[in-house]
Symmetry: C2
Subunit: 389 residues, 2 copies
Amino acid sequence: MATNNKNYPYRLLTPGPVPLHPDVQKILAEPMIHHRTPQFERTLKNVNEKLKDVFSTRQPVFMHTSTGTGAMESAIVNTLSPGDEVLVVVSGKFGERWAEMTKRFGLTVTPLMVEWGHAVDPAAIEKHLTAHPKTRAVFTQVCETSTATVHPIREIARVVKKHDSTLLIVDAITAVGAMVIEMDDWGLDVVIGGSQKAFMLPTGLSFIALSEKAWSFSESARLPKFYWDLRAEKKSLEKGETHFSAAVSLIRALEVSLELLTGPDKMRTLRRIEKLAKATRAIAEALGLRVYSQAPSASVTALATPLEIDSQKLREHIEKEFNLTLMGGQDKLKGKILRIGHLGYITDDDMMATVEILYHALRDFRSPTLPENALMAALGVMRHELATV
Amino acid sequence: MATNNKNYPYRLLTPGPVPLHPDVQKILAEPMIHHRTPQFERTLKNVNEKLKDVFSTRQPVFMHTSTGTGAMESAIVNTLSPGDEVLVVVSGKFGERWAEMTKRFGLTVTPLMVEWGHAVDPAAIEKHLTAHPKTRAVFTQVCETSTATVHPIREIARVVKKHDSTLLIVDAITAVGAMVIEMDDWGLDVVIGGSQKAFMLPTGLSFIALSEKAWSFSESARLPKFYWDLRAEKKSLEKGETHFSAAVSLIRALEVSLELLTGPDKMRTLRRIEKLAKATRAIAEALGLRVYSQAPSASVTALATPLEIDSQKLREHIEKEFNLTLMGGQDKLKGKILRIGHLGYITDDDMMATVEILYHALRDFRSPTLPENALMAALGVMRHELATV
């Protein structure tokens, strides 16, 4: 092990949290201002407008001071009532979370089990809804982060839209801001995001928007709520305020990062994320790794390690010796995959260094599948991909 | 109006958010690290130990990524079940919030109405509990921020402690870290705090600790919960983790601010807050103002303005012309009080400037109760109080 992490600056390539943009870091360090001031009200208004652009919706996008899981809870309690029948797509850890949460809140839950690493088949959802017309909601992820897999959300929406009494509730935590999400046009009813993903902020804000159809569900939703009460938030928003104390620092930083996610920069940012994902898939072969997912996501890539290498140990070795945080796999994928994130302020240098580090770390583990010239080949592929417009 | 806010640096003296410590600002600007790293695990461990010191408890103190209201909701759903009888001390806006929240969650709520600006009489609580032995919980604030009033929490605890089947659930959001709170010794069952108060951080973290008695209540608590589930948090904490994504930046900043709230600095910090409160009360007379509360709190002071001056307009004038954010009154106190906060990184200069600004602003409103030499007198009082050990 010829390496020492003192030679490597810290790098963070995970599906969240993500490296902060320098302008975001700068504003986080500014002196505190109060949330009931004209200055902050202007920020709030600007942020609210730009969030609509990111979600592609005319509906208000609300911010909860919480992690993404908080917004998932908000989606449930704002639209449903105890005993409601729901269908939950379960294709990884975050699908399992939807299933566990909906059960906890007394809903009648049917899991739609999908093989890990595979996208859900919209026809399976259609079949279920036809057989169970009382279904009040379909829950899914856009990107199932645990397997780095993207579901065909537009096609799923096409199916659910036919059913007036069924909502499509979408965890887009690692998707919104990272890929095109057309909430209104596609007919997504509840869309959820999180600050520490494509929004390039620290953890602490979640986002949620409801379609008109979802708002009509909220009128009869009987699950108890106070902190997550979006009808109260809506009234406050109309007065230009947040309902509770605002997370001032994060919202001011959000105003900065939204510049990169909206308007003229929007498509450039999305293309950059796509490029990093494609480049990461492209280096896999040269390094003796395999792209795990059958429907790879743009926000995170899962690379399967050779059978003889425990990816968890590899991940720890990479962190300890090379000062780079990647993610491993969870549950049945523990020890089998490395997950590399593509969100946040990731430079070309970060990508080149990641290739170099992966090579050295795999060599440290004496990977027999890794030829001597693999580093040059992989670096070449990465440089080529990064240079591609 | 001879003033222009360009001559005045921005100052923030409210009951929260509060001015950040420079070291806190600095760490908030640092590059992101992941929450599943040895470095962050060390921070988490250190923070967890120090929080116990602040709360004076042997119990774990949990952090929710939320505002203080989130921890209030957590207190309810982790200890109680629908239909439970509870008593709620209502002596201002935050007491009203407890009453509204507990109702929302299907509890059977008896409000104990207390005149605004007055402390609750522990004997009234004792009387209620004797007459209603089935009461499962008493809810109160330590400091009712809307009226700047402190309740005799230790005496209340003495009363509630006699009842094995009754919890004392305490919103200490503007109290913990700002005054001595002996959770274990006094017998407080649930204690709640918030990051943007004495902890000198941005809004975004809340704190909650449960006594052994409260933990035993949690075993039979039937209100649905997922995001607030403290039994799940406890299991994660035993593994040195947070249950959901951690608010990394805030928790790293907390590690810094906790240095000032624990160990050798703890009493110095508390005395400083007390001094600022006492000094603010002391200048009232010279400025023709009156201390509103009959039991003034250390964390915030409410000054009643003369009848002919609308405190809301005065507050707006102070913000616009003098770049200083204070708070006004809410509901029946709207237009009648100014609230000045004593938490956070407040310098002597901030206090002297506040005196000067109050004088000029009151003169701008042509306060007939304000003699010409009031400024010199008030500045003298403030300087004297600040110099007092």
